[in-house]
């Protein structure tokens, strides 16, 4: 009788030691749960209870409202007509006033991953064809399509996505998107002045005559 007890005891211990995994999949218990878990709705908390109670909630801003510090929404829709119209939209930010350091940071975080830190279209996701991305990102400095693109069209593409590029409206607000475009245009301008100063002068002359 005693022997059986000892043997089963030992066996149970061995089983417990073997089956013990040190991957912690459970979050554990809380001390005083009423102080640990918020009764109010917190960011990213489930809103299923609201649905059940019949309260309308869709986590979207009311249409026509503008967040503090942001700018008025872009007027055109995501269709081919909107794409054509976008060419006439001018950057509402004055490039001289834009905080280029912050704009560069936004570019490096959000765009550099594909279009490259040097805007050469060779970011870590492409890596000259060795990265996971199947299509080459545009070289923002030399690709004829992008180098001559109107800033409004750029904004349209960044807002709604174009070809394999997705929409960045959920990552960058209107003002940040215009800042990034001001940064890209500044870099393109630098490229042009070193390559062909005359063309840049002609371009800017055209811009001043057409703008207003």
């Amino acid at each position: 009788m005693k022997k059986i007890l000892i043997i089963t005891g030992c066996a149970a211990m061995v089983v417990a030691a073997v089956s013990c995994s040190n991957v912690r999949r459970e979050e554990g218990r809380a001390y005083m749960p009423d102080m640990s878990y918020s009764r109010a709705y917190e960011t990213y908390a489930s809103t299923e209870a609201l649905d059940k109670a019949g309260v309308f909630y869709n986590a979207r801003p009311v249409e026509g409202t503008i967040a503090r510090g942001d700018m008025a929404a872009y007027p055109y829709k995501n269709d081919s007509a909107g794409y054509v119209m976008s060419a006439n939209v001018k950057n509402p930010l004055d490039p001289a006033v834009v905080d280029m350091k912050e704009a560069e940071r936004l570019y490096l975080v959000n765009c550099g991953i594909c279009h490259g830190t040097k805007l050469d279209g060779n970011g870590p996701l492409w890596k000259g064809g060795d990265g996971p991305f199947p299509n080459a990102p545009r070289n923002l400095l030399t690709d004829p399509v992008v180098a001559n693109m109107a800033e409004g069209t750029m904004f349209h593409s960044v807002t709604y996505g174009k070809n394999t590029m997705g929409s960045y409206a959920s990552q960058l607000n209107t003002k940040q998107r215009w800042m990034v475009i001001a940064y890209v245009k500044m870099k393109q301008g630098q490229g042009k002045t070193t390559a062909a100063p005359a063309a840049a002068v002609a371009d800017s002359a055209k811009a001043t005559t057409t703008g207003k």
């Binding site: 030992c10 211990m13 030691a17 073997v18 013990c20 995994s21 040190n22 991957v23 912690r24 999949r25 459970e26 979050e27 554990g28 218990r29 809380a30 001390y31 102080m35 640990s36 878990y37 918020s38 009764r39 960011t43 990213y44 489930s46 490096l108 975080v109 959000n110 550099g112 991953i113 870590p124 996701l125 000259g128 064809g129 060795d130 990265g131 996971p132 991305f133 199947p134 299509n135 080459a136 990102p137 545009r138 690709d143 399509v145 996505g161 070809n163 394999t164 590029m165 997705g166 929409s167 960045y168 959920s170 990552q171 960058l172």
Partner: protein, 426 residues
């Protein structure tokens, strides 16, 4: 003999150069084609996968493209070609947009690009280049060590028990021989010394475990839940160098760091539809993961059909219910922007080496002692007068004066109120 050698040499040189030139013609074609493909075509086309435009593999077997003159006409002026051609009209409806015209492409360019495409297809048919095989994560050696140590100590304990038994038996025998009369020995479970020792050990061990358990209540060190999709931070933030703020951008601007919406995932995964180039993936329990199947899970949430990418409606996507790992109790206030934007603290300081984790786990205990310790030690970047300093702290005039006069050499978070109760509890 003297003449023979130079002639022989010349002949070999001649043959060699002939040999090289024959082979270099085709090689050059593909190489030139590669340069052309990368600069002009790759933005929309991939050899093996549909992108903005169709995959170009097996191009010559489709439509009339075996005739490169037809192909040239199409590439030079797609809209004119499409007017009288049903096949390319069908392509336009399938992919949603018409190909850009490349007026400067010549017949030689078309030959080169097609040579490059066929070259790539042939390379792939030869079999995939052996990828550096990743061995599964070493099963926890510490766990195995614990078992070994346990077994050894169990064996030793049994031996000790047997020896004690032998010892007492021998003593009894020698006592019998010498004729010393001793009272019948008490069994160990009634021996008061043993009972007292066991009680002390029980209180020490029990007290330690109870205290440890009580402190651990509500703390989640090493918490590593299984997420609805196996998302590897190692692959995304480590190997592919995606910035933390690409997905968690509002760590700069608000209390919570963003949990990315499906749209953010789809920014890249609209195009990256399979997991091919990275190392093999394993869960923490050692189960192998098929990366492509995990991307398919994302498509289910997004309502995205890879075969019909142009028709995707992002507004129909359903949120992925990721499980939050780093939780603080409700009576603690923590703000990401205060630390990331104002304090310029790196994400890794609190979250650990995220770029090396396949499945994220909580590395630090996120206890009050841990917070306070960091607030005591961390120096604030105070020299705001030069460009490297942090403008956020420009209002602390007294400290700036003290630094200037040499009274203080640095300012820690504690000095600017980092230990006040109300900063985090209110």
């Amino acid at each position: 003999m003297i003449l023979c050698k130079p002639i022989g040499q010349r002949l070999t040189v001649l043959f060699l150069s002939l040999f090289v030139s024959i082979f270099s013609v085709s090689a050059q074609d593909a190489a030139a084609g590669k340069t052309l493909f990368m600069s002009k075509c790759a933005a929309c086309h991939n050899v093996f996968k549909d992108g903005t435009g169709p995959a170009l593999m097996g191009l010559e077997e489709r439509h009339k493209w075996a005739d490169h003159n037809e192909l040239l006409k199409w590439v030079n002026n797609p809209s004119a070609y499409m007017a009288g051609d049903a096949y390319t009209q069908g392509l336009k409806t399938k992919f949603g947009s018409l190909m850009t015209a490349f007026g400067d492409i010549t017949l030689k360019d078309v030959d080169d690009v097609v040579a490059y495409i066929n070259d790539e297809v042939a390379k792939k048919a030869k079999g995939p280049v052996a990828a550096p095989g990743d061995t599964p994560a070493a099963t926890d050696s510490s766990n195995q060590n614990a078992i070994i140590f346990g077994v050894i100590s169990l064996v030793l304990a049994i031996i000790a028990l047997i020896l004690m038994q032998v010892n007492s038996n021998l003593k009894k025998m020698s006592d019998d021989v010498e004729g010393i009369l001793r009272p019948e020995p008490v069994p160990f479970y009634r021996n008061k010394v043993y009972i007292a020792m066991a009680a002390i050990v029980f209180f020490i061990v029990g007290g330690f475990l109870v205290t440890k358990g009580a402190i651990g209540l509500g703390r989640q060190t090493n918490y590593q839940p299984e997420q609805p999709i196996y998302y590897s931070h190692k692959v995304h933030a480590g190997i592919n160098q995606i910035n933390c703020l690409y997905c968690h951008g509002s760590a700069m601007e608000s209390k919570s760091a963003t949990i990315p919406s499906v749209n953010v995932c789809m920014n890249c995964h609209k195009a990256i539809q399979s997991y091919e180039k990275g190392p093999k993936l394993y869960t923490e329990d050692g189960k192998e993961i098929d990366g492509t199947a995990e991307i398919q899970k994302l498509y289910t949430y997004a309502g995205f059909d890879p075969k019909n990418a142009a028709q995707w409606d992002p507004s129909a996507a359903k949120p992925i219910q990721w499980i939050k790992i780093h939780n603080l109790p409700d009576h603690v206030y923590f703000n990401h922007s205060q630390h990331v934007n104002a304090g310029k603290v790196q994400c890794q300081s609190c979250h650990g080496e995220i770029t090396a984790m396949d499945e994220v786990k909580q590395v630090n205990e996120l206890s009050m002692g841990w917070c306070v310790n960091c607030h005591r030690q961390t120096k604030v970047n105070f020299n705001y007068s030069d460009s490297t300093g942090n403008q956020f702290y420009s209002i602390y005039e007294k400290f700036h004066n003290d630094i200037k006069s040499g009274k203080m050499d640095s300012v820690t978070v504690k000095d600017i109120g980092g230990l006040e109760c109300q900063k985090c509890h209110y």
